[in-house]
Symmetry: C2
Subunit: 291 residues, 2 copies
Amino acid sequence: MEWSYKMKRKAPALIAFQGARGAFSEEAARKLVGPRTAVLPCERFEDVFRSLKSGLVSGAVVPIENTLAGSVHENYDHLVNFELPIVAETSVRIVHNLIVRKGLPFSKIKRAFSHPVALNQCLDFFAKNPQIERIPYYDTAGSVKMIVDEGLSDAAAIASSVAAEIYGARILRRSIESDRQNFTRFFLLRTANYASRHKILPAAHTTWKTSLVFSTRNTPGALFRALSAFALRDLSLTKIESRPLRGKPWEYLFYVDFLGREDTANAQNALNHLRELADFLRVLGCYPKGA
Amino acid sequence: MEWSYKMKRKAPALIAFQGARGAFSEEAARKLVGPRTAVLPCERFEDVFRSLKSGLVSGAVVPIENTLAGSVHENYDHLVNFELPIVAETSVRIVHNLIVRKGLPFSKIKRAFSHPVALNQCLDFFAKNPQIERIPYYDTAGSVKMIVDEGLSDAAAIASSVAAEIYGARILRRSIESDRQNFTRFFLLRTANYASRHKILPAAHTTWKTSLVFSTRNTPGALFRALSAFALRDLSLTKIESRPLRGKPWEYLFYVDFLGREDTANAQNALNHLRELADFLRVLGCYPKGA
């Protein structure tokens, strides 16, 4: 039974993400796991976390922050609730393209469908082309699928180039976003079991990041003292995010990313120091810093 | 022309807020300005800020954070962009009620309309009453107006008691939210001109809050040093929020609230200290701490 043994050992690399095929999360999944990875599109972020927790997929890719829109706060909440470790990060430049069914000329376009956030990021394009009406749709890539499936002959969609490719549509105008400084950072999550079996070996010259979440007693100077655990050891923070603490109105959970490997003496000392001050502390993952 | 002189001096207390009449923001406006204040409902938060900036209204009430859902990040961005000072804060307990047209019994209800966030905050109610379908609507109070205007005889809305009162509807079930620890904090904003003409006198025993926004150079320990300006002077932070800095990917603006009056020597020293460290610093307002 060599075959079934291999099947068991080598779980298929199926990666869950939120959105339709061709979403920016799929682009991130290809960067993180490989260009030919099999993917499972999910409707909601919660479904993405659930499908990994239940073992339906072997990994999940979720957006955590965008340089224009800010953090994806819902995913911060899921990170602490689902306890699925972060094993890698990447960032994707968000390039919005005007996409149509093949053969449709620009002059015919009267409507453009996309997610409201994407439409808002292309305001300069719409100002220059007032004949095109903006129409909100639930998803960027989903809007490409829709214009193709419905055979719309006066409509475009705004989405990634991967979405155009997947649905056999054509890019009429590339990169119509107003602000080029538009990046989304994504995490690759695995199960705790998988992460412990596939420890990444420390390569020379790799910069590492550690992500954690903590809460402190609600006393004056508590956050300052908590951050001293890092500052006193020259560990540089790259991100701090606060989220409400359930059941304790006006108290907060703090999510922190710092540059450093969790298993070094310096980081261990910082975490032990923070443990003295924190009511709650959990490391969410340690992973190579993305490009 | 005594009359016109008075007209000019005493601007009508018209307060803008986002949502339909009867929104929780209207409840906050009544608490902040008075039970009989005239209000201007606006479709979007941006419209609320614009209407105050342009002088159409004399004040604006906006939600800034909720103890379950977290910060209203869009309004943090508007605070720094519109430069309208915060002059007061309050918090409102979010009580969701099942509201119907007068005369409709509970047994007839097959559908409940409300904002998706409100529907999600009443999951226990829906679990106990599986015969009632949840239907997302753009606004809580707006859903009450709709069931009354349309004369729906199988539908309820979920909204505040003020919304039931305004639209002449009836509360069938009070306080159906799953978690009672559900509060939203609101700011009252005025024009800079108005705020400087109506300085609040320091009453004894009043606790004050000061809100500010700053950015630091992106160097190790920068946030820790920035917070030292408050910690070294025993000024207690009640909130910190980070938002992306436009044009500088992966850098952040920090919004901080601390307990203290901006015009005391201690707070002035802290602000001067922070100014040494910050690339950008602006005080957003100083106001009595809400109950």
